[in-house]
């Protein structure tokens, strides 16, 4: 629409790069500081009951999504999963901002030094990037064109 196919390709490569960097960095930081991550989860009144599951579940989910983004055929699914995961993290942050002031950030690496407000802005930025990736993905065009054709076929 606004971009040439070549521009779309490189923007998508850039978005993929950013998400792989984010998810592998976040997962590796959590796994390398396993004890610290577990302690942070156990301190959270919302997540402490699921701490044993989340301590492995969150990094595993991040690594699975990063793997989806590696494969060109699964990139659209990867972007959708990234969008959903970032939405879940953002909803959690909104809950923390509204109901608590002293919960440590259960996140990895330099991201853990962010304040909750900075974290919220960071997440919203990545949500918008994921949506942009979904919008630019050639598979999305095919789905839209396919459903439009289906509609016109039904009219006949």
């Amino acid at each position: 629409m606004f971009f040439t196919p070549n521009q779309k390709h490189w923007i998508l490569e850039g978005i993929t790069f950013l998400f792989i960097l984010l998810f592998i960095y976040a997962a590796a930081s959590k796994l390398l500081a396993y004890e610290q991550f577990k302690a942070q989860l156990e301190q959270s009144p919302f997540l402490s009951s699921f701490a044993d599951f989340l301590v492995w579940g969150v990094p595993a989910t991040e690594l699975v999504i990063a793997t989806l983004l590696f494969w060109p055929k699964l990139k659209l699914e990867g972007f959708w999963c990234s969008f959903i995961l970032m939405m879940i993290f953002t909803i959690y942050i909104i809950i923390v901002l509204n109901f608590s002031e002293s919960i440590p950030c259960s996140c990895g690496g330099v991201i853990s030094t962010f304040s909750w407000t900075q974290h919220l802005i960071f997440n919203i930025g990545f949500i918008l990037i994921a949506l942009f990736g979904i919008f630019l993905n050639p598979e999305t065009d095919k789905i839209i064109v396919g459903s439009a054709k289906g509609l016109s076929f039904n009219k006949k």
Binding site: T16, L21, I24, A39, P104, G109
Partner: protein
């Protein structure tokens, strides 16, 4: 085909490198301050046990924070002096 995987592989390598670098930086930190809702690692502070809170000041004239042993608000360190130690 090989070039399709070049950027994702580079991203994965960068991410691994960055996470190891961050972890080694954090391992050097053995005390923490609670700054604007998040934990910030600082170097070990030699506060002798006393009636005051162990405190640090971020730069001359900067903000003053209580020092914690761990990323836990119940692990506040005590000090014999009421004066905060200035750190960078």
């Amino acid at each position: 085909m090989k070039t399709k995987f070049l950027l994702p592989v580079l991203a994965a390598i960068f991410a691994m490198g960055m996470s190891f670098t961050t972890i080694s930086t954090n391992l050097n930190a053995s005390d923490y301050i609670y700054n604007n809702g998040s934990w910030q690692p600082i170097s070990e502070q030699s506060c002798q046990a006393g009636p005051h809170n162990c405190r640090v000041q971020l730069g001359q004239g900067g903000q003053i924070f209580d020092v914690y042993d761990e990323m836990n608000l119940s692990t506040k360190k005590t000090s014999a002096s009421s004066l905060p130690k200035v750190i960078k």
